[in-house]
Amino acid sequence: MSMNLEQEKPLLPDSPLSKSKSAYLPKVLLGSTIITMLTSIYFIFLYAEEEKTMGAAQKIFYFHVSSAWVAFFAFFITCLFSILFLVKRQRIYDTYAYVSAEIGVVFTIIVLTTGPIWAKSAWNTWWVWEPRLITTLILFFLYIAYIMIRQMDGVWDKKARLASVFGIIGFVDVPIVFFAIRWWQTKLHPVVFGEGSDQSGGGIAPSMLAALLISILAFTILYAYLLNKGVTLENLKIKVEQYKEKLRMDIEN
């Protein structure tokens, strides 16, 4: 509840505007993103066989599942860095948590838009109230709320603290939401992997599995690239703000 400390602490390095480190990692990440993405597109559209009943629309599945995976992974990273921040209290952890949540929301949007398009072709309805769909929707709302906490007024460490707490609570909530809804009503969603006790698994052809794995890999590398870029930008923004603060102090004195 720090309300009277509304100023950024001017703890500044000597020359805050100097270029930091070499920009080697982003280039590598961008390169591998492009390569794996192109490979995955080749695999999805040319290599993987077409599903018999659903036809071409089944190919939505690869990007849909990959985005869902990245979204969940991003929120997991947010939770992880939230815990780290609460323990260590270093701003860099908070920046990672925030950027990861933002990327997670972006991929959740992809899941929530490609999902209904597939649903329309496969089940002839845009939306069904089905566990995974509702869980994803609630996940989306949860992390919108997380970002709204970040938009609060006040000093950064207060916002970071509260957002971290919410990041942890939210992530704990996700499996509970899923099981509650799964219990509430089920069926419709084809269970591809694992044994659904009351649903029959659809199975997957080896060529499809290869395409799926490669597109998941591509999306994960894309996530790493976006995370790196986002964190770099966020750090730059913090530096610029601190520098402006210092200038303001200099002028005032």
């Binding site: 505007l17 071409a56 629309a57 949007i109 838009t113 730059l236 610029v240």
Partner: protein, 43 residues
């Protein structure tokens, strides 16, 4: 038969990804402008 759905879905996915990249890029160029301005000020 269902190609239109596939095209729609992939278009949406790419639009979202590139949209986000575009937003990041705008953020970056804004920061760059800020830094240039501050550097001018420093001199």
């Amino acid at each position: 038969m269902t190609y239109q759905y596939m095209y729609a879905a992939y278009t949406v996915a790419w639009v979202v990804i590139f949209g986000y990249l575009f937003i990041l890029d705008r953020k970056q160029s804004k920061l760059k402008k800020d830094i240039e301005f501050l550097k001018q000020l420093e001199k």
